[in-house]
Symmetry: C2
Subunit: 458 residues, 2 copies
């Protein structure tokens, strides 16, 4: 079976781009999600949309599962080949096809790393706004497939807001082009947005046209420490109510502050109950004015201390504090389960309080950081991987956390995706009628059910 499959794939992409070696298969049995793995039968690296189409036609004809994958930095087991078959790695599609300053857009193959697109845009004096936490490793295709978010979601939106058009290959082998170079285009159902966030279950995305913005003139950053997360959350609400929508409003809870300070020694104030990192970008006078107002609001809401970064180096250090939350926490135990719930912004503190209660009830260390501006939290459980009983408690705790988020008008995933990890909770969020509809949409694209089975739409 494997030999026949390898031969068929080699006939399409050339033998040098197919691997059935146990080491290569094992490397593609998992992504960045702990506790999920499954061996594929073959790993293939196509070099064009046409090759992807030929692979998918073969897979549909033979009933072989295909799991598309970029960098494999997925955090919800969205690229784990649960049912075996082919892992289709898109990293050879790594060309930036154009960056247009006149049109404020870029066209890239989807295997391009996000950071490479961002750098190419910056070189043209432009900004690619989406900046998921994994942007140094993730690919544009993975970002589109998961509708990746990031640190600038409130002001700038998420990946969805920047995708203008896609080239995608249907599981039955047709290559379609959706949208294009246009800011307004309503010809047909919005397949561009339907494919964005479809987690590799409807089509394989091979090219994306994305909107860019003029690069903001300046950026400013500040940090505020609060006695409790409730104080920080109140400050966030007050900032928004004052008419400011800042580019960055990130928080760390007390456990994260301690871990980050221990890890990176950035001089964070470890006695605080919460840290709020705020930033804005735009014209210098506006940024200066907004940061001063945020500083004042934080003080009014009981901040222990508020500091504006005096220079870019200090601002970068503060952003590094937020970005290194996960590695810092990872050091506390060798198994780190990072989750991703989202609630209405003003319910942030209530949600963290529920997370803390649930963690205590299950005797677990769960620290929480995330995007205060858009209510997107990353509760992170640190564990001993050999403690099966603790892992069981962790699963139970996260099931309760998902329910708690839903009860607060929230959702089970803000930006990571559903994947395999959260599929069991999807019906609680969407209801049975909507989940059934997702299945019918899935079958409209993928009648043979070969594309990323066991995930969305299954």
């Amino acid at each position: 079976m494997t030999a026949k499959l390898a031969e068929a794939l080699a006939g399409i992409v050339g033998p040098e781009h197919v691997s059935v070696e146990p080491g290569a298969l094992a490397a593609h049995a998992r992504d960045a999600t702990p506790l999920f793995d499954a061996m594929p039968q073959a790993v293939v690296h196509p070099g064009s949309a046409e090759e992807v189409a030929a692979i998918l036609r073969y897979a549909t004809a033979e009933g072989v599962p295909v799991v598309p994958r970029g960098a494999g930095s997925n955090l919800c087991a969205g690229t784990v080949p649960l049912h075996g078959g082919i892992v289709l790695v898109l990293t050879r599609l790594n060309r930036i096809l154009e960056v247009s300053r006149d049109e404020l857009l870029a066209r890239v193959q989807t295997g391009v790393p996000t950071a490479k697109l961002a750098a190419a845009a910056a070189e043209a004096g432009l900004l690619y706004a989406p900046d998921p936490g994994s942007h140094t490793v993730s690919t544009v295709g993975g970002n589109v497939a998961t509708c990746a978010g990031g640190l600038r979601g409130l002001k700038y939106g998420v990946t969805r807001n920047y995708v203008l058009g896609l080239e995608a290959v249907l599981p039955t082998g047709e290559i379609i082009r959706t949208g294009g170079r246009l800011w307004k285009d309503v010809a047909g159902y919005d397949l561009t947005r339907l494919l964005t966030g479809s987690e590799g279950t409807l089509a394989v995305i091979t090219e994306a046209t994305v909107a860019l913005l003029p690069k903001p003139e300046t950026t400013g950053t500040g940090v505020a420490y609060f006695p409790t997360l409730a104080d920080a959350s109140r400050a966030v609400t007050a900032v928004i109510a004052s008419g400011i929508v800042p580019a960055t409003l990130e928080f760390l809870d007390q456990k994260c502050i301690a871990a980050v300070e221990e890890f990176a020694g950035l001089g964070l104030r470890a006695d605080a109950g919460a840290l709020l990192l705020f930033g804005d970008d735009g014209q210098a006078a506006t940024v200066e004015g907004n940061l001063a107002r945020i500083e004042g609001i934080c003080a009014d809401e009981g901040a222990l201390e508020v500091t504006l970064a005096e220079d870019v180096a200090r601002a970068d250090a503060l952003l590094a504090a937020r970005r290194c939350s996960l590695p810092a926490l990872s050091r506390l135990g060798s198994l780190t389960v990072l989750e991703d719930v989202s609630v209405p912004r003003h319910r942030l503190a209530g949600m963290v309080a529920r997370i803390d209660e649930i963690a205590a009830a299950h005797d677990l260390l769960i620290a929480t950081f995330g995007h205060a501006g858009d209510g997107n939290l990353h509760p992170t459980c640190v564990l001993d991987p050999d403690d099966g009983e603790a892992i069981e408690r962790c699963h139970q705790a996260f099931a309760e956390i998902f329910s708690a988020a839903i009860a607060l008008d929230g959702t089970i995933t803000g930006e990571h995706g559903v994947g395999a990890a959260k599929l069991p909770y999807l019906e609680e969020r969407l209801g049975g009628d909507q989940v059934a509809l997702l299945g019918r949409i899935k079958r409209a694209f993928d009648p043979a059910g070969i594309l990323n089975p066991g995930k969305l739409g299954s």
Copy 2:
């Protein structure tokens, strides 16, 4: 048949909300699109999502077409009941359920007029950014169903960018809720965006949660006259390339300027080949700086004259000039066919040149105005409704205009929708494989094919 239908509907919504009178049927046989009409069998005004669900269950069981409709201001025959059946008018669902300043959102029933939502937001110090040309009559539901655009598309995006969540009734009667009060939510396929722009062919949208923005501190407006539209288009490209994304960048061609001046006597300069209306909003210093830079760029690109509106009254007069383009043109003949193509921004002048060539070749008066910032043009043909031969030439001319737009990487509709009027051209834009996929998606929602037949997905 009609009696049975009326009785069934009356049983659901009460007899006072069902009409089968010839006058009422005739009033719902057409929308704002000329040259399309078809009589329904009944007009029904449901008062709740549950009543909508009961109507749709009945329609699916009996195979009766249902055409959802808000204000009927559609411009592509999207709400004309081509196959008869029921016109489902949603204007009784006219409650604004909440406007939240803390959460920057509003939740409304979909029969609420767009202008009423905008006014409620303004009262709370907030901005509902989408502002389609028909906003004084159109409903939020119609805006969502068509993904309506408007004058602020470049800086602020279109309706899609503001829809956070929907309540919708499937043709088979299930009531689903998509998205919610969240800026980040990737649980499931993006049904919120799939329904946005689905033109009443997939589900009936009964409630929408929309994002609001803090109201900009100030607004400024200016006008520039150019010898030719090519000069104006070059200025638009230069503005964008300079790093400014202004809130408004509208244009009128020479024929529109003349018609508007004749109609409204606003003191427009009738010797110019093109008028560019520009505006921005935000903090006062930023707006002032941006308008001054745009003024300078227009002068550099050969403007005959550039004026900044010295006060709000003058700015409103200028905006009125743009907004009255359609009524002004309508006076030139009693039949006005308003179209809606979109091209990459820098191809605006090329597209207008093609439109002018095509109009001349067919001996037609086609004037063009539109959104220069996002490349969305509204070529408008003015005709004598009794001149069947001219109407035939008009159809032929628009078919050529759609082909020309596609050839310039553009699309057949930027913001009005496909409806019945442009369905014949959809395959030229999307290709046969994509049109077939739309049909499969349609059937995943509407197995009996009762919802707005003869439109998207048919």
